[in-house]
């Protein structure tokens, strides 16, 4: 299907997701359930990746600053900025696209090919909004917390690496962390995260929802969802950065 046709279908899909809601009491438990499935269950993984990549970022910054004229605290400052601006919001979102995106696409795809979505429709339920809206709310709500956690742990990882290798002692690292800190960068990171969370949930749900066929096609829908989500995250990363930071 052509790019324009797919985009049009995606927009119509979003329109269905945000219309004809069911009883309000139905949604809250579902949102909480999704926060668990999509968010809470990702904490360990996000923490693990963040500590190690934070450490690597710091080591690489240090490697690039071997000039003795540069003050050591710059290592803390540069690590902080790359973690807040790029590593946590973008890279963790890409990783989450793989983890929660494929889960969303395959679980909705399975519901489609086993006629569970038809069953919802026959009951008079707007299946698109019933299935997808809680996932969007959950991810848009919980992903910023995951990213803040990732930033904190990334910085901890960087501090540990700098300290253990003796490249950047604690005091210097702390000075760097606080040096000319612009709170706006956190705002930028959270805005990016929220937009990426929306992309991950809606694009992967879209491909799952329109699966045709059987188990093989569910797998393909999931792959497609993750690939398109990743491409869109990369493009929107550029657009948002252009808009907010230049």
């Amino acid at each position: 299907m052509g790019f324009l046709a797919t985009t049009g279908k995606y927009v119509l899909f979003l329109k269905r997701v945000f219309s004809r809601f069911e009883k309000r009491t139905v949604y809250l438990p579902k949102i909480i359930e999704e926060i668990n499935i999509l968010g809470i269950s990702s904490i360990g993984f996000v923490a693990f990746v963040s500590v190690f990549v934070g450490a690597v970022v710091t080591l690489q910054v240090a490697y690039n600053m071997e000039n003795p004229l540069l003050p050591t605290y710059l290592i803390g400052l540069a690590s902080r900025d790359s973690i807040i601006l790029e590593f946590s919001p973008t890279m963790i979102s890409l990783i989450l696209a793989g983890k929660i995106g494929s889960h969303i696409a395959s679980s909705i795809g399975t519901m489609r090919v086993t006629e569970q979505i038809d069953a919802l429709e026959v009951m008079g339920i707007n299946s698109a909004s019933y299935l997808v809206f809680p996932k969007i709310c959950a991810a848009v709500f919980i992903n910023p917390f995951l990213i803040i956690l990732s930033i904190a742990l990334g910085i901890v990882g960087g501090w540990l690496a700098g300290n253990l290798t003796g490249i950047c002692p604690t005091e210097e690292f702390l000075i760097g962390l606080q040096y000319e800190f612009a709170p706006f960068t956190m705002f930028y990171a959270i805005i990016k995260t929220i937009i990426f969370a929306f992309i991950i949930t809606t694009v992967c749900a879209f491909f799952g929802y329109h699966t045709k066929g059987g188990a093989l096609e569910v797998g393909q829908a999931s792959t497609k969802g993750v690939v398109y989500t990743s491409i869109l995250i990369i493009i929107f990363n550029y657009l948002i950065t252009n808009l907010l930071l230049s």
Binding site: R20, E22, K23, V26, T110, M111, T114, E115, Q116, D118, A119, E121, V122, M123, G124, I125
Partner: protein
């Protein structure tokens, strides 16, 4: 009662339903029979509005089902129960939650009333002590029964079943057929069942529509089917030993 008039449905240049008209009466088992791929599932899904039709009309007790708003369609759908071919139980919910789901979504009943209604329906399909199990923990026949329980939980006026016996052994098939028959007569439901199982046809076919390539080739009942004079229908029933025994 459901009336279907001249419905057409195609995908690209593939004509799946061809000017199909039929009449399904209340309190009866109405069968749609035909070979695999003849359009039985599509006919039912179009009648439920799961696929938009290209032309024609579908009428539920004098209420048009085509040119209406989403809200009106929702109201009619509340009167419809459907048993899908693969049962289509929600994997993420246990059996009690599955059967309770339509109540939870459409009624404002207390939890204890809902539980009573669920117990009643599960009892009605002869299932006990399965409330906390998940669909994957049940056999195909039990899943089918849960699907029937879920389909009747809202006291539907119309019940649709897509190949209720597919994948079941002959004994379990008969149990399901009998159950559908009892429920239909007991509550005066307009029941529409797709099947290619000749045993079912003989057991439960109060009125029968035979379709081939999306076209109605014959209609009648289980008595007249043996003396029917339609080439395709005769081809379709020829391999059925049970029917030969029945007729001769």
């Amino acid at each position: 009662m459901i009336r279907v008039e001249n419905i057409n449905k195609s995908f690209g240049d593939k004509h799946v339903l061809n000017n199909l008209s039929a009449h399904f009466s209340a309190g009866k088992i109405n069968l749609i029979i035909g070979k695999s791929g003849s359009g039985k599932t599509m006919a039912i899904k179009c009648m439920l509005g799961l696929h938009p039709i290209d032309s024609g009309s579908i009428i539920f007790n004098d209420r048009d089902f085509i040119n209406i708003s989403d809200r009106q369609r929702k109201e009619i759908r509340k009167e419809i129960g459907m048993v899908f071919q693969g049962s289509a139980l929600f994997d993420s919910m246990n059996i009690q939650e599955n059967v309770m789901f339509p109540l939870k979504m459409t009624k404002s009943m207390s939890v204890s009333d809902m539980k009573k209604r669920v117990d009643f329906c599960l009892n009605r399909v002869d299932l006990k002590n399965v409330h906390t199990l998940f669909p994957s923990e049940l056999s195909g026949g039990m899943q089918k029964r849960v699907a029937i329980a879920r389909a009747i939980v809202l006291n539907p006026k119309y019940l649709f079943c897509d190949e209720p016996n597919s994948g079941l052994d002959p004994v379990t098939s008969k149990v399901i057929d009998d159950l559908l028959k009892e429920i239909t007569y007991e509550y005066g439901i307009t029941t529409v069942i797709n099947t290619h199982d000749m045993n079912s046809v003989i057991e439960i076919g109060d009125s029968i529509v035979f379709i081939q390539d999306g076209k109605k080739e014959w209609e009648g009942d289980k008595k007249s089917i043996t003396t029917a004079n339609n080439k395709y229908l005769n081809e379709f029933i020829a391999p059925s030993k049970s029917l030969r025994r029945f007729s001769g």
